[in-house]
């Protein structure tokens, strides 16, 4: 095994006790925390939902029931497809794409400014003030937006107080609050990969492009963005995956009559006590989002190793 995996004999290189520690730590992490739980969840998602006592009994068999339910709905329903769950899922994916694009658009100018235009001390100040909001709990950040957007909230009170509006706008009901909150939640994870990528670009390249008569837009399109592509892709991947899996922000900000897909999983799992179906829905979420990200990476020709640097 030594020569199979490692460049040098592992136990000789590190000393016996340290090598043992490395091996235990890594096996514990990879096998015990990452791989086995996922595999067991996959297994559970194909099993019938039964109480623990009946495990191993006649009712404990493999079934596609939970995946069937996601697509076609329960057997008693009249609809051909499970429009409710499919709708929630489609909406989650679409809104996540929108949130990712919005994040990229908002962050790009700031990242470029901090990386290339600002003086070092200004850049430091801006970076520190970017980080501060993100040391605060995601729930509390969403709560701050809830105060603003509630029906009797600050924005509505101010607008009606001045007399611009007669009645408050239902920000929460129309999910304006949710979209704002989701954009707010992970914006830092877009900012830093972008900043790192743009920062490594040689300023002379931009100057050269300008000297050769390129317009500002063209300079960005042909010089800066191609250079920053790994950063853009890694930021987009992180924001997309985290938004698709977000639970805290939707719990606080989504309107009572719409659901975010992880909320649906939560309902099956904690409120309806159907762990198998919750697992099946989790697997669906995981596979679809990973496949989506890999497809996007294939389209934009980025390797997986470049994603997190």
């Amino acid at each position: 095994m030594k020569s199979l995996f490692f460049t040098q004999p592992f136990f000789q290189k590190n000393g016996k006790s340290v090598a043992l520690f490395f091996l235990v730590a890594i096996v514990f992490w990879f096998i015990f925390l990452v791989i086995i739980p996922q595999l067991y969840m996959l297994d559970l998602s194909f099993r019938a939902n039964i109480p623990p006592l009946e495990r191993g009994g006649p009712k404990d068999f493999y079934t596609l029931e939970h995946y069937r339910h996601f697509i076609f709905g329960s057997k008693t329903s009249a609809d051909a497809y499970n429009f409710v769950d499919l709708g929630v899922f489609g909406r989650t994916i679409l809104v996540s794409i929108f949130v990712t694009i919005a994040n990229l658009a908002f962050c790009y100018p700031i990242a470029f400014y901090i990386a290339k235009i600002a003086t070092p001390s200004t850049a430091r100040l801006l970076i520190v003030s970017l980080i501060i909001p993100f040391w605060i709990n995601e729930l509390l950040r969403s709560f701050a937006l809830r105060i603003l957007f509630a029906n009797e909230g600050v924005i509505n009170n101010v607008l009606t107080g001045i007399g611009i509006l007669d009645q408050g706008i239902l920000f929460i009901t129309y999910d304006v609050g949710l979209y704002t909150g989701l954009i707010y939640a992970y914006i830092l994870l877009m900012m830093f990969p972008l900043y790192n990528a743009i920062e490594s670009l040689d300023i002379n390249q931009i100057e050269a492009a300008k000297d050769l008569g390129s317009s500002t837009f063209r300079t960005h399109w042909r010089v800066v963005i191609p250079h920053a592509k790994p950063g853009i892709v890694s930021g987009c991947t992180m924001v997309f995956m985290l938004t698709v899996g977000a639970l805290a922000t939707p719990v606080v900000l989504s309107s009572p009559n719409t659901l975010w897909f992880p909320q649906l999983i939560y309902q099956w799992f904690n409120l309806n006590d159907n762990w198998s179906r919750g697992s099946a829905y989790s697997i669906i979420l995981l596979i679809v989002s990973v496949v989506f990200v890999l497809t996007m990476m294939r389209i934009f020709k980025v390797r997986i190793g470049e994603i997190i640097r």
Binding site: R146, Y184, A248, L286
Partner: protein, 396 residues
């Protein structure tokens, strides 16, 4: 162009900070609903004892809310546990990355960063279902107790992805490691274990510190994973979430403001320390130059004048403005028990007025039959007076 850029940056940072600042203000409003308008009184009640509403509902403040305290304690325990597990794991994985064959490196790296890309809910669920099964197989006794212990499960679930954060920090530090140091130590007769403890660990010390801080913060503020793996226990975040779901209270603003204040203090201290270190380094460089030059002409240039630090000026300004605002607030009776009592009696009297209106609203038989008020037989006494509920502010 620069002007536009300035405006955009201003808008962007308003978006980042505006909600937080407004939330901070609502923590000082004595009203039961976190709001700027209508402003009742300036008060610290949400940091202290909270308030008991007329219907007996206790809106707890920070000091009296035992659920928050319990949640905080288990959050701290979980944070400590996660730091103890994820920092060694991340370090081991990062060091081994440098020794893995190059063909395997991509796969190894992909497995290491995978947990970050998994949605948090999935990590939580998979840990719970696995350990529920283990606890079931273990029958009674210790294993089943451990497998159904929310704090233990949360530590494992969070370690799964927080180890990756630590791993990335260590990888970044190891990339600048000079391998010749190790070789020199080996040549001088050190054993492999000694090299690890005397060379590698001291070199990695800053990374260990920052990985520990990041791991603790990530654990402390995690919700998506914790809400599944915590089972019947509570952490700070799950308590907050259940509070938000039940109805929003200014006590949460007070909590957020406390966290913001701690964060800002930590950030400012870090920045000051860093600048001081930088200045020291520059000064030592200057001294070095002076010694080298040893000429009076150069020395003169380095004589520094007395400068008032900007930070102190800002602080003094802040204190002056703060004390002015405070005196104005007290002078105008916007602070203290008298103001709160006045606001409460105002609300109560409104409530009483409405009650009286309700009671005095006796309708004659003719009205009930659908007479002058235009009501109908069944609902006459409810819809009789259209202005009845207009000013009704709720039951507090």
């Amino acid at each position: 162009m620069n002007f536009l850029m300035g405006i955009y940056i201003l808008v962007f940072f308003t978006y980042l900070f505006g909600p937080l600042i407004i939330m901070s203000f609502t923590a000082f409003n004595s009203a039961e609903f976190p709001a700027i308008t209508p402003w009742e009184c300036f008060s610290f009640r949400w940091f202290n004892e909270g308030k008991i509403a007329y219907d007996g509902q206790h809106l707890a403040g920070l000091l009296t809310d035992w659920r928050l305290h319990d949640g905080l304690i288990s959050s701290l325990i979980i944070g400590a546990g996660v730091v103890c597990l994820s920092v060694p794991i991340g370090m081991a994985a990062a060091i081994v990355l440098t020794q893995v064959k190059s063909q395997l490196r991509d796969i190894y790296y992909s497995i290491s960063i995978m947990p970050v890309l998994f949605p948090g809910v999935i990590i939580g669920i998979s840990t719970v279902v696995l350990w529920d099964r283990i606890a079931g197989l273990g029958g009674g006794g210790f294993i089943s107790d451990v497998g159904r212990n929310g704090i233990f499960l949360t530590i494992l679930a969070q370690t799964c992805f927080i180890s990756t954060y630590c791993f990335l920090i260590f990888v970044a530090r190891l990339q600048r490691f000079d391998q010749t140091q190790e070789e020199a130590a080996l040549d001088l007769g050190a054993s492999q274990t000694q090299v690890f403890f005397k060379i590698l660990i001291p070199y990695l010390a800053p990374a260990i510190a920052s990985a520990a801080v990041i791991a603790f913060l990530a654990s402390f503020e995690n919700y998506n994973t914790t809400v599944f793996s915590i089972l019947s226990d509570q952490t700070l975040t799950t308590v907050i979430a259940s509070k938000v779901r039940l109805g929003i209270s200014p006590a949460l603003s007070a909590l957020a403001l406390t966290i913001i204040a701690l964060t800002v203090i930590a950030a400012v201290t870090y920045e000051i320390l860093r600048r001081r270190q930088e200045r020291k380094y520059l000064e030592s460089q200057e001294e070095f130059v002076k010694e080298k030059a040893a000429s009076s002409r150069v020395n003169k240039d380095y004589k520094a004048g007395f400068k008032v630090p900007k930070g102190i000026v800002a602080l003094i300004l802040l204190v002056i403005i703060g004390s002015y605002v405070a005196t104005q607030i007290v002078k105008n009776d916007l602070y203290g028990n008298s103001c709160i009592e006045a606001a409460d009696t105002l609300k109560k009297s409104k409530f009483l007025d409405q009650l009286q209106t309700l009671e005095s609203n006796q309708l004659s038989d003719e009205d009930l039959q659908g007479g002058s008020l235009g009501g109908n037989q069944d609902y006459g006494d409810i819809f009789g007076d259209p202005t009845l509920f207009q000013d009704f502010g709720g039951f507090d």
